[in-house]
Symmetry: C2
Subunit: 362 residues, 2 copies
């Protein structure tokens, strides 16, 4: 069983992006949300986006199931207000739900949140979470730590007033959040997939490491995508800074709650990740179809075919691979366990993450 | 011969930081530069800062020479105006020059620039460069890509109007710039040594990779500190993004001009750096006494004793180590060659960086 925890619906038909463009233009011109229903997308259009792309690659690479969420760079929280973004999130989440419904054995939905720059995540965000998780089988949410799109003008993740109500909601729903920025309107961080994404990952890790966030929410789970940004490469730096600052070791402060995905697109990077981060904190992912779509001329294989690097890694063994490929996902995303595709899966006996449903499931 | 290209005078006596505090308070209160001469520092105070700290560690670790610049987090460009920062830079640079003068065989100076948020680097910066490099034997400068201190409100490094005049000056003086942010006044990126530093490194690399900067300045040389931020860990991602964007391979677009230092504080990180980045683009450095000052309980050695990792790395060999420890530094910092400590050194015959003085020195 191989579960990819990080896939986006990057292949929607053009009217989807066209609708967002009109939303943004209307908001820029009038300061109001676009008064127009989102355009219809047919099942055939959804199939035409997914079958020759995400699904084909999953089949070629032996990936059984993908946790599927709306396009990350398309979340676009910085370009309109909360009212516009609520319509946009609902539309994008519904498209993801429909895609998952068309291929129920292969995709499980995760949702985009209607965040907006300068607005603390409250009722509109909670309503969308209730709708997606409570009513439609979503198993996770993508949380944007910088809804300002590269200006980083909202408070850090440890800010109690700003963020804690959202964490209470995530804990109550027992879903993890992937901490994933969207696009950047700051030219210093473009293209976002090269710069803003990785910087967002690194900043989020440090905000967690240097705060009481997981002391206050011991069952909250964050997934840091893109292999944790700069963090595993600088694991010694972080262990040392924590020690110099009088913080607990990383194992105590963050590793009960933080997970890194494997979206690292070369063998040495995956080797390092598997060498320094405990296998219990690594989740298989590829972000296909996403940031890098080409073939590596050095290997003749797709850059984002991350399964190959894990299979070939000198750092892994059969047990750790099983954890990374599926066991950990079932621990971090407990709602996955009721999914038909995961019915026969066992939780890993080694390095198994703690979460509220542990007792019930073991 | 072992040259550490990244050391800061982090151990100045307290009146130095006290002066900056008064500058910042005065500027915040009045909008004017403090009208007060910087406090005197005695030779004894300089020795007391350096001998039991930087110099002791260099001796213990077998480091012959350190390129020594003012404290990076102390550059503090975001907290006052250009006039205040010019006095501050001059004071800090003079202290570094005096330290190097007290230990001429062991330290070579690099300068801080009087940048300020919202102010393009012009005459005041050029005057300080002329004074330091032209008159006082400095061999390099630290360039802050984000003088706003974590708000990233000035243009990216590829902005012709903002930055190109400074690059013309650097090329004319034939010195490299280390691209090094200072502190952060944005709480999202604190502590800066954990977050803002690495994000600045990553952002700077991407700004170079996606622009014509080195096409326009083929002899300009940038050193990206802290092992290149997230970049080597994501080398496959960057090769892939460059390919997808139709940019030249990294070897052509940046590796003739960009160098990574070895401030990576654990063995797997250094192994990865030496595995993926050509040895010709790596410069030995430790940033001692700096970001991490403790002993790694896993090894019993100082985290920032980076020489050990390079000596022990499975990825290096005698030739690459010689390049990394000293040969590359003599190529990237040509003004080092006239330094007495480097008189007997040979430039490496393999993977030698190109620069204007190549013909004269070989």
């Amino acid at each position: 069983m191989i579960i990819d925890v990080h896939g986006h619906f990057t292949t929607t038909p053009p009217q989807v992006a066209g609708f967002r463009k009109r939303q943004v233009e209307t908001f820029a011109r009038t300061g109001l949300a676009l008064d127009e229903p989102p355009p219809r997308v047919t099942d055939e259009e959804i199939r035409a986006g997914i079958e020759p792309n995400q699904l084909r690659k999953m089949n070629e690479r032996g990936v059984d199931l993908t946790i599927f969420s709306p396009r990350a760079i398309g979340m676009d929280h910085h370009n309109a207000d909360e009212a516009s973004n609520a319509v946009w999130a609902r539309y994008c989440n519904d498209l993801v739900a429909r895609a998952c419904g068309l291929y129920p054995d292969r995709f499980v939905p995760a949702c985009q949140l209607p965040q907006a720059a300068g607005v603390p995540p409250r009722d509109r965000v909670f309503e969308e979470l209730d709708r997606c998780v409570g009513e439609r089988g979503f198993v996770a949410a993508n949380l944007n730590p910088d809804p300002s799109g590269g200006h980083w003008s909202d408070p850090p993740l440890w800010d109690r007033q700003w963020w804690y109500p959202l964490y209470e909601k995530l804990v109550a729903l027992d879903i993890p959040a992937m901490i994933h920025v969207s696009g950047s309107c700051n030219p210093n961080f473009n293209p976002a997939v090269a710069s803003h994404y990785l910087n967002g990952d690194t900043a989020a890790f440090v905000q967690c490491m240097t705060s009481d966030l997981f002391k206050d929410f011991p069952t909250l789970r964050f997934v840091i995508p893109h292999g944790g940004g700069a963090v595993p490469y600088h694991w010694g730096r972080y262990r040392g800074i924590a020690q110099d600052m009088g913080l607990p070791p990383l194992e105590e402060s963050v590793l009960k709650n933080l997970y890194f995905d494997t979206c690292v697109y070369h063998q040495p990077g995956i080797d390092l990740l598997l060498e320094v981060v405990p296998a219990a904190n690594i989740l298989f992912a590829s972000e296909t179809v996403g940031a890098v779509q080409g073939v590596d001329p050095q290997t003749g294989q797709a850059f984002d075919d991350t399964r190959r690097y894990i299979d070939a890694s000198r750092s892994g063994n059969a047990t750790s691979r099983e954890q990374i490929f599926s066991g950990n996902a079932l621990g971090v995303y407990p709602r996955l366990r009721s999914h038909p595709a995961c019915a026969g899966c066992e939780l890993p006996s080694v390095g198994r993450p703690h979460h509220p449903l542990d007792g019930a499931a073991s």
